[in-house]
Symmetry: C2
Subunit: 124 residues, 2 copies
Amino acid sequence: MTKVKAASTNFANKTALAEECPEVYAANIIGGQWALVICSWLINGKLRFSELKKRLPNISERMLTLQLRKLEEDQMVTRTVYAEVPPRVEYELTPIGYELKPIIQQLEKWGEKHKQLKDATDPF
Amino acid sequence: MTKVKAASTNFANKTALAEECPEVYAANIIGGQWALVICSWLINGKLRFSELKKRLPNISERMLTLQLRKLEEDQMVTRTVYAEVPPRVEYELTPIGYELKPIIQQLEKWGEKHKQLKDATDPF
DNA sequence: CAGTATCCCATTCGATACTG
DNA sequence: CAGTATCGAATGGGATACTG
């Protein structure tokens, strides 16, 4: 008998915790690998898929698509498809997303400062 | 011949990008699954390992250890070991970590508000 | 242009057992 | 108390090919 595996307790737990804990909730949304960076570009206005991709040179198309879908699901961005040829899709922050603007800007400032401090401390 | 595998290009890319991009840098530090939540507890003062664990009921000891080590490496927290029996280890934010305090607090407020909006919108 | 689908290796992470 | 070590399952994420 090789043991019965516990299924995805993890997901259930995290969801349950998010119900009660705003930081966990926030972390689930902006804590992804790319969410914060994508939002930091979108706070300056709507962008097309290809424009985002240009600004995120290290992301694969697949990842960009997945992350945008997740942000959409989390009601952070809206996705607008224009029935044109060639097709055009624009992404824009929702009002909820725009409310992150001051936070993201502070985080950028913090990141810049911290980065310098660390670079200075850590010559490697 | 089965193809030569690309090694960890991913890590190199992200590191290179972080050099130039404060949001990527910030996301790498506070964007983890638990970093933000851990910091949100530590902004109220130092805590022991077991106290953190109590406040993060869904995290495994292994994960808590790994995340704290990463935060230490990122110079976000200090780890102080007291040579006592039983052993005691305290974690505290560094000055750089404490600078996140207003940001974390805003993020909490945002999370709370957003959560309610989403709960109201999404009856599921 | 803006994706979707599939394949598959790499990393993450929980469970469990053990230690100073 | 505060970890470390190890092992599999689950997930992440790149490469590539294809589509409306």
